[in-house]
Structures are given as C-alpha cells and as structure tokens.
C-alpha cells in the first residue's frame, strides 16, 4: 500500500488526514483509490487523464515524468507539490 | 534614407572598399555590409566590449565608432587574429583553459587581449584585469579568461 502525503490545502477533502495509505501499482490506480476514499481528490489533481499543469507528483523522491502511468511500489511514498520552474 | 558613402580601409591586412550610410556604426558596417559577424553587439553603447576591434593599434568599441571614421585606417578584427590555419596563442589558450562558455563575448575578449599583449607582452594579473575591465562576460566569472591571457603571454609567439 503506497503512502500518499496529502498537502494541507487538500486536507478538507480527507477530513484532516495528513496521510492516506492506498493500493495501486500505478499513479492512476493510486489516485483512483484515493478518490474512492475521498471523493473530489482526483478532480483537484487531474484534468482529463493528465496531472494538472500546476501540480507535480513525486514518487519515491523524484518528480514523475511519466504522469499517471508512473509505476508505484507497495512501499512507495507519494507527494503532491506545486510545479516548479528551472532555468 | 540617407545616401551611402564609399569607404576605403585596410582590414586584417587587406585593402577593402565598401559602402555605408553615414549613420551606420563601424560594427553595423562590419556585420551588415562586409559579412564579418565575429564582432558582436551586446549593448550598443560601449559598455560591454563584445564588439572590440583594433583601429590603428588602439582598442575600440566598434559600436560607438562610425563606419565613415575608418576611412584610410588600419583595422584588425577577430577574423584577422589567426594566421591562416594557425591559431593565435590567445585563441589556443582560450581553448585549453576552457575560457569560454557561451562564447559570445569571446571575440571581444580575444581582440582586447591581443591589444594588451601588443603593448604589454608580459602583463601581471592586475594589468590583465585592468585592461579587460571594459569587457563583460556573464558566464565565466573571468577566472579562466584571466588565466588564458596570462598563459598566452608566456608564449613567445604571442609577442611576435
């Protein structure tokens, strides 16, 4: 079960929970499972079948370049952060 | 549109005739009329040195010299620093010391350093830094540029 860190601004959807443990071997499955537990979360994270442009999702320390197809392991950590710019 | 005037000068050892508008700078004439694009425009008002050329033995910013002013004079540009296929020791030293990153200020620095070595064959680091203070480089922090000039100054050929 992957551990997802819920950012403070989204905790109103998780009844205050800072972390959620959900099944899934891809980011899509993880977010689907999150949304089942906390309806509305997927809409805040995704638009159509993509991660929203202003959000980055980090899996095991690295910002995913693979979007919702990113593989997730049972012991993975997932963070949701604002997208950053580099120069 | 102003009328173009004919200008004769010696550029890198060759007699050259060209036409330019009276309002055109030497830099514009070199780049736009003569196709010599080695000198670069970084600021257009003599602050950065990217357009450095040597005019009658003096280092100048070609962006603040009018093309018409070079009538009858001797000009050395970056295109004339190497002798045929043989790089000038400054050019070789810039390569070996990794003294360039983006490379856009490099022609100006090499021309400026050439003018320095022409009059001061064995400069100290202080002399190099004072002489090159009119050339801006944003990539290197100047460390490797100063080293390259000092290295080239050790070459006897540089002083020929």
């Amino acid at each position: 079960m992957a551990a997802v860190w819920i950012p403070p601004q989204l905790r109103y959807l998780t009844r205050g929970a800072e972390r959620a443990t959900v099944p899934g071997d891809t980011l899509r499955a993880v977010i689907d499972a999150l949304d089942a537990a906390y309806p509305g979360l997927r809409d805040r994270l995704c638009e159509a079948d993509e991660i929203r442009g202003h959000i980055s999702i980090v899996v095991d320390g690295d910002v995913t370049q693979r979007g919702l197809t990113q593989p997730v392991r049972p012991d993975s950590e997932v963070q949701i952060i604002p997208a950053i710019a580099g120069g | 549109m102003s009328e173009r005037v004919q200008i004769q000068a010696t550029i890198n050892g060759e007699p050259v005739q060209f036409l330019a508008e009276p309002r055109q700078s030497l830099l514009e004439a070199l780049r736009d009329e003569l196709g010599m694009t080695g000198a670069k425009e970084g600021c257009g008002n003599g602050n950065c040195g990217a357009c450095n050329v040597i005019l009658d033995g003096r280092l100048v910013d070609s962006c603040i010299v009018l093309a018409a002013e070079v009538e009858g004079r001797l000009l050395t540009t970056i295109e004339g620093i190497a002798q045929g296929n043989h790089l000038h020791p400054l050019q070789q030293a810039f390569l070996e010391e990794a003294a360039l990153q983006c490379g856009v200020c490099t022609p100006g620095f090499i021309v400026a350093a050439k003018a320095l070595l022409d009059r001061t064959p064995h400069p100290t680091e202080d002399q190099v830094r004072h002489w090159l203070a009119g050339n801006l480089c944003r990539c290197t922090g100047y460390d490797k540029i100063v080293r390259a000039v000092l290295r080239a100054s050790e070459s006897t050929e540089a002083n020929a």
Binding site: D62 | L95, G141, Y142, K144
Partner: protein, 757 residues
C-alpha cells in the same frame, strides 16, 4: 587554484578528462553563428514600439503615418494575432498561460510595465524600422502603477488583471487579486517546536529584481512561407519549446514550425519563453518576406527576464546544543506583469541544506507593474537561501558555534525528510561541508580592519525531463552524434564524452552536432541543470544501442550467436575464441559490406536527478570611505556527482558565484515612482567586471549520483544559490551590520554603517 578532493576512479578513460570542446574553434575565431548573425535574401528588419508607461489602458493605436514611411512594409499590433484560448502550455518546467504569453508579446488592451511591447514594424533596414516607430501614435489612459510586492498584496491596491483570482492548490478565490497563487507547506509541527527552542530569531528580508544579464540580446529571424510553413532562426535554450509555443500561438500544426537553434550567447533561464518570434511571424506573414528582429540592451533589460524582487519573513528556532528544530516562513515574490514567479521553488529549496523536522512555509506569487519574470539559474532559490542562510548564521553566532560547524551538525543527508515531504537519496552535503571545514581557505587567518569572512550553503533540485539523440557509426570508426540541445556551457563536450566513454573510443572520435527541430527527436530545454545529466544519459543509452548492434554484426561475420560476442573497452570479441576480435574502427570499416548501417538511438526521461549542494566561502573588505565591498578571496565547493568535464564544471561554479556576487553587491532594477525603469543599460545595471572579482577557487567534492549511469548530478544552477548570503555574512563580520536588503551597494553600506544618505 583548483582542488579535486576526490580523485576520479580509474574506471573511466574519457570522463574526468579536459578535452578541448568541439565548438571551441568556431567560438575563438568569430566563425560561430549566433542568432543575430543570420542574413537572408530579401530579409526585412523589424523593430518594436514599447510602452513608456508602467500601467495604462491603450485607447487607440494609429499606425497610418508609420505605414506610409518609405521602406516600411508592415505594421502590426496584438490584433493581428489569431485568437487563442486561455489554456496552459507546458514548458517542460512550469507552464505558461497562452493568453498571457500573447499579451506579453504584444499588449492587448493594457500595458502592464515600462517597456511592454505595443506595436511592431518591418522595414527594409533596421534604421528605417526604428524611425517608423516614432510615427506610431498611441493614446494611453494612465493607471496607477503597483511596484512593490507588499503593496500589490494589500486590499484596495490597483488590480493588474480584472480576471485574476488567487489560486490555492488548484482552487481559485472569489475576488480579483494581484496574488496569483498561494502555496502552503507543512512539515511536522512548527508551532509546537518553537515552544521547545532555546533561541528563536525572526527577520525580514527584501531583494530587488535582477536580470540574467546574458551578453547576447534576444533575436529571431522568421520566414513564413506561402504554404504556412514557418522557419525560425534564433538563440534559444529550447528550440522545441519555441516550436510548441509558436504552433499554439499561431494555431499551426506543430510540424509546420521548424526552429533552427543558432549558437546562444547566454541564457541562464531567460531564453525559454518567446518574445520576438511571434512578432516576427506575423510581420513575415504580412509581408511575405523573412523578418529579423534583434533587441537592443535597453529592450532586454526593460522587457525580458528578470527574476523576482521579494519580501521574506523568516523565523527559525534552535536548541541550546545547536539543533535546528523549527522554521516558519512567509515568502512573497514578484511575478512581474503576469503570474509565474519561482516562489514555489524558493519555498521548497530554502531549508534543503538542513535536517529540520518542523516547518511551515507560505509562498505568494504576486503580479506587479514590472516585466514578467523568467527563469534565472536555480529560479527562486538564491532569494530564499539569502534569508535562510542569514538567519542560520545569526543563530550560530548567538549559540557561540562556528558557522560551518553549525551547518555540519544540522546538515541534511540521505533519508532526511524535506519540506515537500520527500526524503533525500544519497547526497553530498555532509562531505562537501567537511571539505570546506578542512580547506585552506577556511583555516587561513583573515587579518586587517574592515575585513570579514562569510559562508553559506545552498540546495537546488535539478531536473531530468526529455532528451533524444542518435549517432551514426562511420566507416573509419568515427561517430557522428546528432543532438537537439542548445550548447550554452560546453554540453556538446559533456554529452560526446559520455558516448565515447560508453563506446570505449576517444572523445575526439565523436563529433557532436546540434540540429533543428525537424532533424532529431524531442528535447526539453537546456535548463534545470539537466543536459549533462539527461542528454548524457541518452548518450549512454545510445552507446549501449550501438554496442548491441556492433556485437550482433560481429556475430554475423563470425557465424556465432549474439550471446557469444562481447564488447569490452572498445573491442568486440568472441567470448570463447581469443583470435576473433575487432577494434571498434575495424568493425566500423566492415559495416556497409556486411549489412545495414549502424545507428544508435536513444530517448529518455530520467527522474533520478539526485539534487545538488553548493557551499561558498568569501573574504571581503569594506572601504569605509566609499562603502564599496571588495571580494578578496572566494572559494566555491560543490557536489557535481561525477564531473564529466571538470574544467566546465569549474566554469559553472565560477560563473554562478560571480552572478551571485553581482546580485549581492550591485545589481538591482531601479524604478522611479512612476514605474519607469531608471537603469536599463550596462552602465547603470552594474554587473561584475574583472576588477570586481578575484580568482574563484572551485572545489568539486564528488558524491556520485546512484540514479545516473555515470553518477552525474546537474551542476549549472546550484552555484548561484549561496553567494547572496555568503557575501552578506562576510560583510556583517567586516562591519558589524547585518544587511537584509539587497544589494549591498556602496550607497547602502554608507547609510547603514555611517548614517550617510
């Protein structure tokens, strides 16, 4: 003097050497072709009219007189662009709103900063185009400008964009605001931890907008052909990004747009977004001729770049035994005229050098009537590091602990949890601080009045993103490498070296060429310190592809199974028959007589970037008469993972340090009260010269990145993170005054130390 504290392992033959870069010759002879060096038959020259006001409605634009000037071929305004929807376009890192992009390129109904483009002309010469600008008549209705980030956040402040709402993790606010977004991060319980702290320090900091300061101004030459194919020659950090921006802005299929990346005279993040190409495109479309646009320096400073000015309030707490336990920060960054400041990265990198378990950080992205900011080398991080490293320095002082020792005992390491929730992979922070503690510089006495020594640490994420390349094996054993990344600081060399290493051939046998967007697969920007990391990784994969193909070919020649052939140190040999072997060049010579050409291909999007740290030490002397701060000695330490070409790693470290020193001491956008920029020239926007800097010692402390085939970490950005605080901390020790407002210019030094105005 350059120290390499960790010797390269013997396993590499090419990596760690210092060959002459492949593009060097063209750049020392003046032959290299930069964007402004383009000249095409029939080419017209463009010029852009810019707003003299910081904030105004455009009531009317009359272009008739300009259009009538002999030699003028077209005059355009924003109305000449096709309509674009309000959609976001990814630039690889970060995104841009297409409507904002179009309004920045040419103002629509409002000008939002001094220098905002309003109209453009194409004429038969650049001088005529400039003359024509004076004949364009624009009627403005002036509005009150908002120049300071704190003013812009106040209720009742003039609003720049009536439709802008504060976005909070994807949810928009209800009322118009200049705060484009609010970010909020929490780790642990900061409020509780402050209660347990023995020393708590809270300070406020401000910094001004500063410019990337590349020596080459922006340029673009655009040819819009009759069949709607567009070719753009320009200096850009991201040819593919320009292609995609142009296709979306002009509603063209992507394959109708070809971008030819010319050599680029510096970028530092400022040459990713487009300014000139859309204008060139509509001028070319109207005239049927290629149009060249080149900015002058004033335009570059007024209307491109810069990075944010800022306001930061930061509180940090430590226990009396010297443990950092809590932080509470508020960061407000100026975005300029359109949303998009790097405040997020500022928040997330600020505490990176530390193991600090409790932190709450809020970030605000705020629009003001100044140019729209662009990325600048580790965007956002130097600003927040200035605040953090100043407070950390003060905490160490109050606790009576050596500032480097304090940083060491609180240093982040593998497994340390960061503000954004992630934990660090293996990183070199501790090894680097130890190297600094043991260095000659740190242990050398610094004597004399008005002198002081300062240190500061810095962290940057680095980026991976997408890279593609391919390489053909030639009959003589040389290899032609085709890549798509603009080479700003020696990446042709660092990519070619990794291919040569993989193939076991000399670096000189690989010839890299950077090609246009039609000629190689997609490549993200040259930015994020990613090219040597990601394109180097692609070079490795490409090399492995060639090795497989070479082994298969040898197996076919020898009539063996592919598994019976191996590739060792550039030799292809049969595993069980020592007599059967080819050197790389021998087999290359037989490729075309034994089958198909051998071409290696690779496309990658690696994620395991590793993270980068830099620690700087500066000795300064402050002249009490003039207030000028002179840097006497400077040493930069950094973990490059593996330094592929050490000379160019040193170059990045030295260059980043010098930009940071300029930011600390002299550089600032100086605005008049009416919002006009007062110092838009290199004379008045004072970047460091040879006389302002000493030699900068660069010390590479390698902790290889386990997430890269050759251990590479990005190196380009992190060296600009520590200098602001390094200098401020040194000036404090020289003067007894803590400078919390940048730059520490002579004017400010005299004011703070002697009360002189």
């Amino acid at each position: 003097m350059v120290l390499e504290t960790e010797k390269k392992q013997k396993k590499y033959k090419v990596i760690g050497t210092r060959p002459i870069r492949p593009d060097g010759l063209d750049k020392v002879t003046g032959r290299a072709r930069f964007g402004a060096d383009i000249d095409l038959p029939g080419m017209l020259h463009g010029a852009i009219l810019r707003s003299p006001h910081a904030h105004a409605h455009i009531v009317r634009i009359d272009t008739s007189k300009a259009a009538a000037l002999p030699g003028v071929k077209a005059v355009v305004t924003n109305a000449d662009f096709p309509h674009v929807p309000a959609e976001e376009l990814s630039l690889g890192e970060g995104a841009v709103n297409l409507v904002h992009l179009r309004q920045n390129v040419l103002a629509e109904d409002k000008v939002l900063y001094h220098g905002h483009a309003v109209a453009a002309v194409a004429a038969t010469s650049a001088h005529i185009a400039t003359e024509a600008l004076r004949l364009i008549d624009v009627t403005y209705e002036l509005l009150e400008p908002v120049l300071d980030v704190r003013d812009a956040m106040k209720q009742g402040s003039p609003i720049l964009h009536a439709d802008l709402r504060t976005r909070d993790m994807g949810k928009d606010g209800d009322i118009p605001s200049n705060i484009a977004s609010h970010l909020h991060f929490e780790l642990g319980d900061a409020d509780h931890a402050f209660g347990e702290a023995d020393v708590v320090i809270e300070r406020e900091f401000t910094t001004r907008m500063v410019h990337q300061g590349y020596i080459e101004p922006h340029n673009a030459t655009v040819s819009w052909d009759e069949d709607d194919h567009l070719t753009i020659w320009m200096s850009t950090q991201g040819a593919f990004n320009v292609r995609d921006q142009m296709a979306r802005l002009l509603r063209l299929p992507v394959h109708n747009v070809r971008v030819v990346p010319m050599e680029i005279g510096g970028g530092f993040g400022g040459k990713i977004s487009v300014y000139l190409p859309p204008v060139g495109a509509i001028l070319s479309h109207k005239t049927g001729r290629p149009v060249k646009l080149v900015m002058n320096r004033t335009e570059v400073l007024e209307a491109t770049g810069p990075t944010s000015g800022s306001y930061i309030k930061l509180k940090m707490g430590a226990t009396k035994d010297g443990r950092l336990i809590a932080a509470r920060g508020e960061l407000a960054y100026e975005a300029g005229a359109f949303p998009g400041s790097p405040v997020g990265a500022g928040c997330m990198t600020m505490l990176g050098p530390y193991d600090i378990a409790n932190a709450t950080i809020d970030g605000y992205d705020v629009v003001v009537n100044k140019p729209r900011v662009a990325a600048y080398r580790a965007p956002g991080a130097p600003i927040s590091a200035f605040a953090c490293e100043s407070v950390v320095d003060e905490l160490a002082e109050q606790l009576g602990i050596d500032p480097l020792q304090f940083r060491l005992q609180n240093a982040s390491k593998e497994g340390t949890r960061q503000l954004r929730g992630t934990t660090f992979p293996p990183i070199g922070n501790v090894a680097m601080i130890k190297a600094a503690l043991a260095s000659d510089h740190y242990n050398a006495p610094l004597e004399g009045p008005n002198r002081g020594r300062g240190v500061a640490n810095g962290f940057w994420f680095n980026a991976g993103m997408q890279s593609s390349l391919n390489a053909s094996v030639n009959g003589d054993g040389t290899v032609s490498l085709i890549e798509g990344n603009t080479d700003i600081g020696g990446t042709r060399a660092s990519i070619a070296m990794q291919l040569a290493e993989t193939l076991g051939i000399p670096m000189e046998a690989v010839r890299p060429t950077v090609v246009d967007t039609d000629s190689v697969g997609y490549n993200a920007v040259t930015g994020g310190s990613r090219i040597t990391f990601a394109s180097g990784w692609a070079a490795y994969e490409c090399g492995m592809d060639i090795r497989r193909l070479m082994c298969a070919r040898a197996a076919a020649i020898w009539d063996l199974g592919e598994d019976d052939v191996e590739y060792v140190d550039g030799v292809i040999r049969a595993r069980k028959d020592a007599a059967k072997k080819f050197t790389f060049a021998e087999l290359a010579g037989r490729i075309n007589s034994t089958g198909a050409p051998i071409i290696g291909n690779a496309s990658v999007s690696p994620q395991t970037v590793g993270g980068a740290f830099a620690l700087h030490i500066a000795d300064v002397e402050v002249d009490p008469e003039t207030g000028k701060v002179q840097v006497l000695r400077y040493t930069a330490f950094q973990d490059p993972g593996t330094a592929i070409h050490p000379a160019y790693v040193e170059g990045q470290m030295q260059g980043g340090a010098s930009q940071g020193i300029g930011w600390a001491l002299n550089e600032e956008y100086y605005y008049n009260a009416d919002g006009t920029l007062a110092n838009a020239s290199f004379l008045d926007y004072r970047m460091p010269t040879t006389l302002d800097l000493p030699m900068i010692d660069a010390v590479m402390v390698e902790t290889p990145n386990p997430g890269h085939p050759y251990g590479v970490r990005g190196v380009g950005e992190v060296p600009i993170v520590p200098p602001l605080a390094t200098i401020a901390n040194a000036v404090y020790r020289a003067t007894g005054v803590r400078f919390r407002d940048l730059p520490i210019s002579p004017r400010r030094v005299l004011k703070e130390t002697q009360g002189l105005e």
